[in-house]
Symmetry: C2
Amino acid sequence: MMRFMAKKAITPGPRDERGVLAARIVAGARDEFAQHGWAGTTIRAVARAADVDPALVYHYFGSKEGLLDAATNPPQKWLEHVAKVWTTPVDQLGAALVTLMLASWADEEIGPTLRAILQTAAHEPSTREKLRRVVEGSLMGVAQLGSDDRDRLIRSGLVSSQLMGFALMRYVWKIEPIASMTDDEAIAAIAPNLQHYVDGDLTR
Amino acid sequence: MMRFMAKKAITPGPRDERGVLAARIVAGARDEFAQHGWAGTTIRAVARAADVDPALVYHYFGSKEGLLDAATNPPQKWLEHVAKVWTTPVDQLGAALVTLMLASWADEEIGPTLRAILQTAAHEPSTREKLRRVVEGSLMGVAQLGSDDRDRLIRSGLVSSQLMGFALMRYVWKIEPIASMTDDEAIAAIAPNLQHYVDGDLTR
């Protein structure tokens, strides 16, 4: 997706239609992978969702792997939101991180991308690698945490484990009453725990 | 599985071979579903893993759905472990729950079952329902938590979200350094957070 956008930027004009169609295919692929996982998603179903010919999907993305790669690229605006959250003073990071998670899943582009990553991460080594990069490069990219590299990665890994477990129960598995509790309830309940991972004593 | 064990108990003798074969098929199915999810698992692959004819799998379990149902039934010993943990004094439940989770995933029968449930929960309504029952009936089955039913279910749901998110990162996605931190490190880091969900103030 980002690679394609770059291409589009340097070849305007007749390629604009290609940009529109590719974006539609990526959006359809996100939804299909998010709902059915890797093995349950077919190029044909993605083409149907995007209202294009399956041949065009192959032409643009080469393979199902290429399509998954495009569909699970974190949107640029999400990376910007994440980078901004990490400028929050350390003693307020717990609340800021829960708030970011709730806003991300509510976003109509970011939500399906995160869901597609979580749904395919378990099966596909390439998507697990992408999940690892998303976790390490965004959630775990905080120099100010911890006493050394390992401590920093454990702290941000624990933060990720809570945020992803909650997101799975609330948005993917829809287990009640987690699915219907209000955002304010979620922030009040979870923020202190994330704060413990951010700057608490993890050894006692 | 439990249904079958019950049948076996009342019809001993010539059916013993059936019990052995069915258990081998269930074990194979657990591993296949755990590794490949619902859509990626075939009866043929399960039969191969169990070293039986595919027709026997159909004969014993009727369909892929029936096989998934058998493969994701929580083992009896797991239910017993869970019930025992809930007799822990409330102020020590945080540590007891993390310890139970680590022991469960290390168990050669319980671990693959939990993994199979998590891997198929997102796609299959019947397995999501089973996940809900596992969560509500075991992790969330604690009368002594919370001020009312909703509060109790929110507290145990938050406990589940942390335990499942950590288990996914550590055992399914194998994200470092979460995957290789020691059990003692995990207990020290996570127990206080579970304790907060068990009996802390979730409204501030």
